[in-house]
Symmetry: C2
Subunit: 337 residues, 2 copies
Amino acid sequence: MKKVSISVDAMGGDNAPEAVVDGCVQAVLEDPDIRVVLCGDSESIQAALDRNTYPQEQVVVLHTTEVIEVDEPPVNAIRTKKDSSLVKGIRLVREKRTDAFVSAGSTGAILAGGTLILGRIKGIERPALGSFIPNSVGFTLLLDCGANVDSKPEYLYQFAKMGSIYYKTFMNKENPSVGLVNIGEEESKGNQLSKEAYKLLAGDTGLNFIGNIEGREIPAGAADVVVCDGFVGNVILKYTEGFATSLFGMLKETFLSNMKSKMGALLLKGSMKEMLTKFDYTEYGGAPLLGLEGLVVKAHGSSDAKAFKNAILQCKKFSQEQVNAQIKENLDIVEKE
Amino acid sequence: MKKVSISVDAMGGDNAPEAVVDGCVQAVLEDPDIRVVLCGDSESIQAALDRNTYPQEQVVVLHTTEVIEVDEPPVNAIRTKKDSSLVKGIRLVREKRTDAFVSAGSTGAILAGGTLILGRIKGIERPALGSFIPNSVGFTLLLDCGANVDSKPEYLYQFAKMGSIYYKTFMNKENPSVGLVNIGEEESKGNQLSKEAYKLLAGDTGLNFIGNIEGREIPAGAADVVVCDGFVGNVILKYTEGFATSLFGMLKETFLSNMKSKMGALLLKGSMKEMLTKFDYTEYGGAPLLGLEGLVVKAHGSSDAKAFKNAILQCKKFSQEQVNAQIKENLDIVEKE
């Protein structure tokens, strides 16, 4: 198996650098083919590393002096903070010194960094965050999950094209179905954006477009790939996480409410494990930014060590599947008349 | 207790007129203070009624000859189809011959009918559908749930004002908290609409505005009232329904997967009932259109008899609480400078 080298933004996310460093250590311990380059303040990274025992040959620290804050205007931050963990980390990908870059930092900054430093694949106006969310029969690829708000219809069409290639590559399924998030099934329903995007999607026979898909059909797995504006996608993604957490919390309370139900819960423990894992967001790594000339992965902002470890492991898979290279090779955008 | 008279669109919804008629019969049998006026094709209504035993003094049939189709342009349909169940039913409210109107038909037509026939409350540019969705600690009022897409910031501000009054009246809670659906907590985050709406909401000290609320916080009950554009609200509302259905379906499968889990499920049956009821959309009636000069309630399009019965019972409660009269009386819109 080919070794994979990943540059990591050690300063990004709510629990950086500790959770990031711990997650990286866990990942390299689990997989000897992974090497991480931890970008950030070397002193605090080393302090976090020193709390762990780890294979030194798999961990490199790259000192940087600047940090991009959550509320900074992203493009400006990327242009001015050349010595930030984010800019340095993505530069390593550009220089082909690493295969991928991962960050739990702000989506806006990661998007700006990826776009400005790596560039976009020809035909793609806006890279999109593609996340897999659980449904009753498997997983739905939802995009965009928050990289682009106030999208144009063309963006949604490009999301669909990239999503189809990604789903096919990653889930190994020919001709995945594509649905457009909308508030009604009929073509005439929706807002300005969805009505215009519908036409573009329906006009491309290369897509397996199945039409509008309402909120209630998404969890049933009615489409493999579901496209929408990043505002809507981000709300759906985070709502899924919150809803599952709430529901399982309520379930737990019910299970503990009396002796009879406690016994019942005990008997169910084994069989429920699979379902609980499916809805545990820390099990999924991160989401790749589709459409870039290189691999950039966004990890959950509140990633703990386990979530970050999974982001690193997932990243190796994205790299091996050559997600963006596949998109570049197979993209076949129909130009609007 | 004052008697409540409700005009009903017997022709609206996926299962009309049978489910509508059956639901009405169940409602009047359950509550002797409710009287329904079934508007629609008298022959098919009577045929549906004849399948039931019902108190004749509580059920009136009003024959109409026209039906508004799902894909008709709503405003035009309301203007031309004067003898439709929808127009006739809402006219009864306007003429004060009934206290409320209920329909499981198309939201667009109901909104157009309510606005054109009853008119809007002064200060409200767009009436909104306000639905209660379950959260871990109670219920969240979500609006708009699909009456208005491509909203202006002012609409969202007005939704917040109406929602606060409705929540206070209906849930009996002073000063309910209001959150703005967004993709980040910071004021600077979001799309054009949310950024501008934020300013209007923050500028009104009469509102208990708690700022932006992300998708994951909604199910935790982080805000009592949650405002957003109708496209986003409709997706959240329907996604909630679909997600709960999927999750409980998966849970059921898990429960039945082996003998041990079957026994566990049996022990849990009693304590899980409350939770299952909370997430069963057929238990909730419908959503009122807030901001009209009269009471119009939208029932779920795929309402079965039970769901429609609950819509009728809920409607009585809305009528007694004088939802829209309360809004009219207490509305205090701060004009933009």
